[in-house]
């Protein structure tokens, strides 16, 4: 029985536990066993929380036995992987960085609090690019994660650990974070569903900031209903986040409907032509046809400012990051250099040089440069104006379309090491996902097929707070596409 549990979706596991078919502890043990089996090859986690998970699963079982499960424990006993960028009280939170290698937070992120209140059991902290900076999870101080579809390839990033964990059956669902595509792109590359909610829908409290005006926490799941369910758990106003939207709670799962006939979708020309791999484009176009078959009218639309999205992003995000990461200085927490230092300035310089990896240093340098005197107007301020143009382009599009669609990533999963030497080529992986973050709108990626045996992601974007519409379209498309391929790592025998 328990060997079948991995690869069951989260809602099914929740039902099995609720019906007392299996215990919460059995569910947790099943995933821990699966982790033990594939983790040496996949490396989806930075730190496993096996004992803690067993304890909390056992606690939930006791509660269920006494009939004490409360309404809010909707997903009692369902295991979950948490990207290591979310603060977990009493459990190491590294952000994939040496500088936080031994950092144990004193508080829980709001999203962590909410999944815990829903009764889920944290299996461990998922691997990621250091401070969420990267598109391949190769920038983790703790070593890269492999793509379950091809262990020689990257899972995407920065939430590559979360995506790989779900794709490899090491967790039924996971939390990720998305600043420029960090949920959607790895979801695409690993063949799962990932959603970046509207900026402000999910509290950022406890999400270690990369670029504060772009960051959002979101669900990474096996299918669309799970995505709707997990979003329903984490969404909602939080007084600890000033940018949190005042919104009544939504039942995305309960409202989920595949009735999408009559909707209008715009296919973004700038994100679905130049620079997109032919295999990805084929798969995407077939999915657009399927969508039309569902009664959604699809036509091409041009959003010219999108061509500038990547450049604007790679000025704004590093600028904010350079400031956000200034707090890592060896004084109050985190790694501090062992070198003999003459004064505090040298301590700062050495600690940060030894504590941060090359990509993080590069972005801190880039962001500091973009903000520094003499360059602010040409770079940072201009990028913020480009951002306005992108917001306006989207605004115009919503006058004619319910949603916009594009491939999620210009390519399928690339080989480990293929792009590490050339940061710019790595940055180009985010070309389709970035405009969404700049405008703060919601977007979702779901698998739409395979190209050369590797998953292709289909991105659906909508106006602010149109999560339900995105989920509905994705749900309809998911059912129509019937994508049910599993990665080779799913059956242990096939992996060398």
């Amino acid at each position: 029985m328990s060997a079948d549990i991995p690869y069951k979706d989260a809602l099914s596991i929740a039902a099995l536990i609720r019906e007392r078919e299996i215990s919460a502890l059995e569910a947790t043990e099943a995933f821990l066993a699966r982790i033990e089996e594939v983790e040496p090859r996949v490396h989806a986690y930075i730190n496993l929380a096996a004992e803690r998970a067993r304890d909390s699963a056992a606690g939930i079982d006791r509660m269920l036995q006494k009939g004490q499960a409360l309404l809010q424990h909707r997903y009692a006993g369902v295991p979950i992987a948490i990207k290591d960028v979310l603060s977990t009280k009493g459990f190491t939170t590294t952000c994939g960085s040496r500088i936080l290698e031994n950092f144990v937070p004193v508080y829980d992120a709001t999203a962590v609090e909410r999944v815990s209140e829903a009764g889920t059991v944290m299996l461990g902290k998922a691997n990621m690019d250091e401070f969420a900076m990267g598109s391949s999870t190769e920038n983790s101080y703790f070593g890269p994660t492999s793509n379950p579809w091809d262990l020689e390839r990257v899972p995407g990033g920065s939430s590559g650990g979360s995506a790989a964990a779900v794709a490899a059956g090491e967790a039924p669902w996971a939390l990720g974070s998305d600043t420029g595509g960090s949920i959607r792109q790895p979801a695409a590359l690993c063949g799962i569903v990932g959603m970046k909610p509207t900026y402000g829908l999910v509290s950022r409290y406890g999400l270690v900031a990369f670029a504060s005006s772009l960051d959002q926490v979101g669900p990474m799941t096996l299918n669309v209903p799970d995505c709707a369910a997990l979003l329903g758990v984490i969404a909602g106003h939080d007084p600890r986040d000033s940018t949190s939207i005042q919104q009544p709670p939504m039942d995305y799962l309960g409202s989920l409907s595949s009735e999408v006939r009559g909707m209008k979708a715009g296919v973004v020309r700038e994100l679905s032509s130049e620079g997109i791999e032919p295999g990805v484009l084929d798969s995407f176009k077939r999915a657009v046809e399927v969508l039309e078959g569902l009664g959604v009218s699809c036509e091409e639309v041009s959003l010219p400012s999108f061509s500038y999205g990547l450049s604007a992003y790679y000025l704004i995000a590093p600028a904010e990051a350079s400031s956000n990461l200034a707090r890592f200085d060896g004084v109050r927490y985190g790694f501090r250099t062992d070198a003999e230092v003459d004064d505090i300035w040298e301590m700062y310089d050495r600690t940060r040089a030894e504590g941060f990896g090359p990509e993080v240093k590069r972005r801190i340098m880039l962001g500091t440069y973009a903000l520094s005197a003499g360059y602010y107007d040409a770079y940072y301020a201009q990028a913020q104006k480009i951002r306005t143009l992108i917001v306006r382009d989207y605004g115009r599009a919503w006058e004619s379309y319910d949603v916009l669609v594009s491939p999620t990533s210009p390519s399928v999963a690339f080989r480990l090491g293929e792009k590490t030497a050339d940061p710019l080529s790595m940055y180009l992986s985010d070309i389709c996902t970035i405009p969404v973050n700049l405008a703060g709108i919601p977007a979702l990626s779901l698998p739409c097929g395979l190209s050369e045996g590797l998953p292709v992601g289909f991105q659906v974007m909508g106006p602010p707070l149109a999560e339900q519409k995105l989920l509905d379209i994705a749900y309809a498309l998911e059912q129509a596409l019937g994508f049910d391929a599993l990665p080779p790592v799913a059956s242990a025998g096939e992996v060398a």
Binding site: R332, Y348, T368, A381
Partner: protein, 94 residues
């Protein structure tokens, strides 16, 4: 946009990062590449376009002025590399 080694050194000082000679050169080249790519945006006419620093038009978000319990001082320094009782210890400043 060519970035000079002096630029890199100045920025490294602002960002408090010790860089080796080799790192400086690598970063100088990579920054130049990224900024070269970013040049396209400087050609966009944005006159009269206001900057967007927040994705959403929220304003006036406050908390009420109520004092709440602080952390236990043991917890405050629990992650510190160097602390004396409940103070953080740092090397000399000047």
């Amino acid at each position: 946009m060519a970035v000079s080694i002096e630029d890199v050194e100045h920025v490294a000082k602002l960002a408090r990062l010790h860089l080796t000679g080799e790192e400086k050169e690598t970063i100088r080249r990579q920054l130049s590449d990224v900024l070269e790519h970013a040049r396209v945006i400087s050609e966009v006419d944005t006159s009269g376009v206001p900057p967007t620093s927040h994705a959403l038009p929220l304003v006036n978000v406050y908390r009420e002025d109520e004092a709440r319990p602080s952390l236990d001082p043991d917890e405050v320094v629990s992650n510190a590399a160097w602390a004396v009782e409940h103070s953080f210890k740092v090397p000399r400043i000047l």
